[in-house]
């Protein structure tokens, strides 16, 4: 048991070191560096990927509704936090909009999660008893319905219809999103290792057996669905803050597919995998393979194929390779196991740790 306490301690120390490192980076480099874009976007995607992994990877519920809960979170945040004096301008087609107060950002974030969770609860009631492929398509359908409603003219005074929402409070540095995400992911990790987390894994492995062992399927599935959507909502709000403006039309199902692919690449059932894959994904799509989009000359010979869009093609091929050949993803269902490392370091190799 002592290894447990030591590894938790080391984990916290590493986390603190990470924040110190980020702070130093911020001081050292100009704010427009590509690295910061990747870190910000990457960490937000990491939260969303982890939330999706909770549902798909840990509970085995194939849901494609993530974008729907993200957009609810984003809009809830924006609607509640746009400063009152800006509303007339932003809601110009709707007489300033129906919400005439502004909440502090943190409260807005929490509400984003809560409202998303609430809608997830409602959606879960009918949808969670469906078989896996039907569940996928039903959640996809609900996400589209949610998007349609947000863009609906009639709800304009609330959502601004199909127009942008902007000028809500945002963050400038990387410490804010990292802190927010770190807290959320920590909660998810704690959950996974609790008795409820084990029940979710049991449902994933064998529903019938789990039920026979006294685990109520509906309650636990709802729990997973609602919790996952809570964090997806917060992720959506963070994404809104990152982008500076939001529009329902961008939260298409394609976004859910991207998150799903990230989760698969990282390994379904591995939180560290999802985090790593998120940063890899964002780095690839924003940065590394950028050169593939530009025409390149070797002497007088123009390289064929290289032009705008090639980067994404290569990227998609890599994803297909992972899906077909490395099905377990980067981490499979293993985590970056601090406990095992601690054991090695303290020389207690033969001692078994608690399950």
């Amino acid at each position: 048991m002592k290894e447990n306490k030591i590894s938790w301690f080391i984990g916290l120390v590493l986390l603190a070191l990470m924040f110190v490192g980020l702070y130093a980076l911020e001081k050292a480099l100009p704010p427009s560096t590509m690295l910061f874009t990747i870190l910000k976007k990457g960490v937000i995607y990491a939260l969303i990927a982890v939330s999706m992994n909770l549902l798909n990877g840990f509970t085995g519920l194939f849901s494609l509704g993530q974008a729907g809960f993200m957009v609810i979170g984003a809009y809830t945040y924006a609607i509640l936090t746009i400063p009152v004096n800006m509303r007339a301008m932003i809601y110009q087609y709707y007489d300033g909009g129906v919400v005439q107060f502004a909440l502090p950002a943190i409260v807005g974030l929490l509400c984003a999660g809560l409202v998303a969770a609430f809608f997830a609860f409602l959606v879960g009631l009918p949808v969670l008893r469906l078989k896996s492929d039907y569940l996928a398509i039903a959640t996809l359908g609900f996400a589209e319905i949610i998007r349609a409603f947000i863009q609906y003219e009639g709800l304009g005074p609330l959502t601004n219809g199909s127009n942008l929402l902007r000028r809500f409070p945002s963050f400038t540095g990387i410490l804010y999103p990292f802190a927010a995400v770190a807290i959320c992911v920590a909660v998810i990790v704690l959950l996974i290792h609790s008795t409820y987390g084990r029940a979710l894994k049991a449902i994933r492995d064998d529903e019938t057996a789990a039920e026979a062992m006294g685990i109520n399927l509906f309650f636990h599935k709802q729990f997973s669905f609602v919790t996952s959507s809570f964090f997806a909502g917060i992720g959506g709000a963070l994404l809104a803050m990152y982008q500076g403006s939001i529009q329902a039309a961008t939260f298409k199902s394609a976004m859910t597919y991207e998150i799903l692919l990230i989760v698969v690449i990282g390994g379904m059932g591995s939180i560290t995998g999802s985090i790593i894959a998120s940063f890899l994904f964002v780095a690839s799509s924003e940065w590394w393979l950028r050169f593939l989009d530009n025409e390149m000359f070797i002497g007088a010979f123009k390289m064929p194929l290289l032009r705008s869009g090639f980067r994404m093609v290569v990227f998609s091929v890599i994803i297909m390779a992972v899906v077909l050949l490395y099905r377990r993803g980067i981490m499979g269902d293993k985590e970056f196991n601090l406990r095992r490392i601690t054991q090695h370091l303290t020389g207690k190799k033969g001692v078994r740790h608690d399950g």
Binding site: P126, A138, M268, S308, G309, M320, V323
Partner: protein, 294 residues
Amino acid sequence: MGWLERFFPYILAGISVGGQYALIAIGYTMVYGILRLINFAHGDIFTVAGFFMVYMNATMPLYLSIPLTIILTVILGFAVERAAYKPLRDAPRMSIMISAIGVSYLLQNLMWYVTGGLAKQYPTIPWISSSVTVWVATTKIVTLVTPVLTILLVVLLQQLINHTKIGMAMRAVSRDFETAKLMGIQINRVISVSFIIGSFLAAVGSLLYFSNYATVTPTVGAMPGLKAFVAAVFGGIGSIPGAMIGAFLIGISENLIKALGYSTFSDAFTFALLIFVLLAKPTGLFGEKTIDKV
């Protein structure tokens, strides 16, 4: 009767687009019936067919570009199955669905790359694209051709399924994959034939669809694809006539909704229908129930 006159053009448009959805929907329902796979990439194959035509027609006469488009689309569908789905046949269901999503992603990115992000104009196929007036509606001939052609193709397909050896093999595989394999049925052939037929119909569907809505972009097939899938579920997954009926229903309903002034909801209606079907009668209109053994 004022309202009939007002709604008639929409109903006509609905029948037309419904037929096009039907041709796509059949591809979904056949593949699902046999592999229990929602082929997320099917909608993109439909879009690629549209692009094939655009590029072929730039360099060839129509009597070449049309058959070539169809052939290339069929080859594409076949290739996708062999490369991305066959290797995962023994993997858990989620893996193959994720592969389908991956293929969809790849196809869309490929299309963006090849077209450079610009929308393309679909070539005008003579006769089909000419205007015609039916009662109070002015529309293109394709609107009238589509339902006829669709029903004809469905009837032909039903004949194939019910009266040929390969059709019987397909029905057997749909009913019980494992047993069919053990009985010596050539699973690979059956699956390939399903994909070939599905892609063929999608190609025909694209010829008709883009003759009506002449702009082709990489994402233009996503919505029709999803709607076609809903049609397949509504009609009873695995049932071809069901998919057709579902598609016509969706096509007509969404246009009626537009007629009533709620165009933002015409897409959402389809999904609401999906949810309703999944909750009320998941096996759809003509689907079959299966019981899981414990």
